[in-house]
Amino acid sequence: MEQQYVLILYERYRDLLYRICCIYMKNEQDALDAMQNTLLKLLERVPPFEDEEHARRWLIRVAVNECKSTLSHWWRQHLDIEECTLMQEDLTEEYMRKQALLDSLLSLPPKQRMVFYLHHYEGYSTGEIAAILSRRETTVRSDLRRAKQRLRVTVDEV
């Protein structure tokens, strides 16, 4: 019963988690590993969520932590991993443009791209992001501002 609940919950947020992990890890394989660890944690602990939003934030937090923890392994330093690409085979102009946007996003520091994503796509306020990521709101705002500044330059170039 509990497992079923976990799987339903996970299914609901699968794309959210996938995006977060991809954006953080910059490649699909690592993203999937982080997603898997997130699910394992969910299965093993199944925290008593107060509501839907609580569960959503918990999952975001755990996924981000998983990504951070993978990145902090010493052996990561020695890996030369290809960055994320969009899954599309025909190289249309639209595809190229999107890929350029993705590249510019991935060129940001991890914290900045995460803040940017959570704010602009998931619609969280800076205060909410600060709570989810356990950071100061001022820092989140700074990150967001810097991300925007950098992306503005790259997007204009695209």
């Binding site: 799987l7 996970y10 699968r14 794309d15 996938y18 995006r19 991809c22 954006i23 999937l32 997603m35 898997q36 699910l39 394992l40 299965l43 093993e44 990145l71 902090s72 010493w74 330093q77 969009l86 899954m87 443009r97 999107k98 946007l101 993705l102 996003l105 520091p109 991890p110 914290k111 900045q112 940017f116 994503y117 602009h120 796509y121 950071r135 100061r136 001022t138 820092t139 989140v140 705002r141 700074s142 990150d143 501002r145 810097r146 925007k148 500044q149 950098r150 992306l151 503005r152 997007v155």
Partner: protein
Amino acid sequence: MMKNDEYKELFDSIKIRDDVYEKLVSDTMQQYRKRKSRRQSGWFRAAVAGIPALAVLCLVIFFRLSGDGNQGPAVQPVELERTTEEETAADQMGTEQTAPEQTAEVKTTEEQTTADPASSVTDSAIVPPITEAVPGEKAAELFGISGIVPLMEDVQKAQLNIAVETFFGQKQKLEELKNSDLFTDSDGSGGDAAESLVEAVASMEVKPVKVYHLRYQGTTVDRDLAQFLVQKFGNISMTALFANWDSLSFTSLMDTVITEEIEEAMSPVEQILCMTERRYSMERVDALVTNEVIIFQENSTVLGGRAGWFYYEFSPCFQKTMIVSAGYCPDSIVPLLLDGTLEYLGYEMDEYDYYDMRWGSNPEVTE
């Protein structure tokens, strides 16, 4: 103008494929079941139950062994952990008690240098001898400081502009910093300031040979920072020096010598990461810090805590010492500001962040 819609569209297109998702879930469930059954097995339970007992046993053996010699936790020349009462008592009694302890520490350094000639520094002639640059009375006074000195906004404000003007005489550099792309660390403050200083110093016309960013506080290596520094400065003139002060005594800094051969074989990131694992020996640090710039982060702990000793030990080896911390006036720096040991440097970064920075020039080293 930022094209948010385009990013929204981009994020929309990042989705996990159904087949990949199915496989992920089935693999994870399999792994979960394995873990679960392993946890329920008798061996696993027995092992888990035995770990604390084993840890205690190891600790007992360790303390018994190390208690006989001159090194190790049983013999600590510098009393690193002091209660408020002890500090207050030290205040009242004067500073004589602390100084001999630090002298004892220096003797340990001498002994170690003598015992291990291979690790001695080749260019030691140009380095002020560590043993004579002992913090002495000044540091002893500092160690006597107890409690938290309240925020001194007036000190900060009054010195703000003066400090900006006097920062290496390069006001412009600081102005540039306000618009620079800064590194943000976990709490988003000290790391920014320290990194911006590192960058500023590195971009100066008169470059120091090396710039060190000492970061000692966290329990984990700030990998992002390490990576950032390497990206920024590559292999040239940049070495970051990390030490985790929370988990080591000063003597353990001297336990390991990293030879130049080892260091050269490592990548810059490895060098940075390595320093938290293998402590730099006194001799090694000595060799590294000659006539350069050191940047301390988290000044309150640097100056007021156990690392204060380090500060006074090594700052004479630098032309400039900078101390960086985030927007609060740290407890133990205030007396140094007041007695002129340090000058104050601070500025407002933007509407969100406030950084203050401090630096003190070292009168013993002249350019």
